[in-house]
Amino acid sequence: MPDSLVTLLQALLLTLGCLFFLVGTLGLFRLPDTLARIHALTKADNLGLGLIVLGLLPSVPGPATAAKILFIWLVALAASATAAHLVARTVRASDSRSDREDGA
């Protein structure tokens, strides 16, 4: 592939990545409750990170570094999914507690 085409593709991926991060942040403000905000933050931001990693791939120094940033993306995915689940579980637990209090 000619260099200019790679650069164009990179620019596209990086811009798209930023847009998805923008959507994630927008979600923090537009969505009504914590759980819905977790949805936006987890999904949009992880896609944004993935796109930015892909966009950076052609400019990293070597294949080892490329493998490293892909590895970092995987770690961030697992981290984000785990954190989302843990926070959601906590929100759920405190929700059902206040439900019981309301019922009493």
Binding site: A11, L28, L86, V87
Partner: protein, 96 residues
Amino acid sequence: MTILIDTVALVLLLLLSVGLLRIWLGPEPADRMLASQLFGTTGVALLLVLAESQGEPALRDVALVLALLAVLATVAFVTRVMQVARADSAGERRDA
């Protein structure tokens, strides 16, 4: 290309600050905990982009450690909230 990568870094930094505003507003503790997720993704992306634009490979290690620490922070938060909640409900039972 350099200008583009620098712009991406700037945009990410801006989004991170706006996200922090939301976290400052709260209102629930769980809302504040989303900060760790925000840093776990936006922060990692920012560091990876900066590693490229500054030619500073060590920043990629920082990104990796940040992603891992984000989970630990969440675990610590969840454990504490659960403990407080359990202590609360134990207190309620005593009151009743």
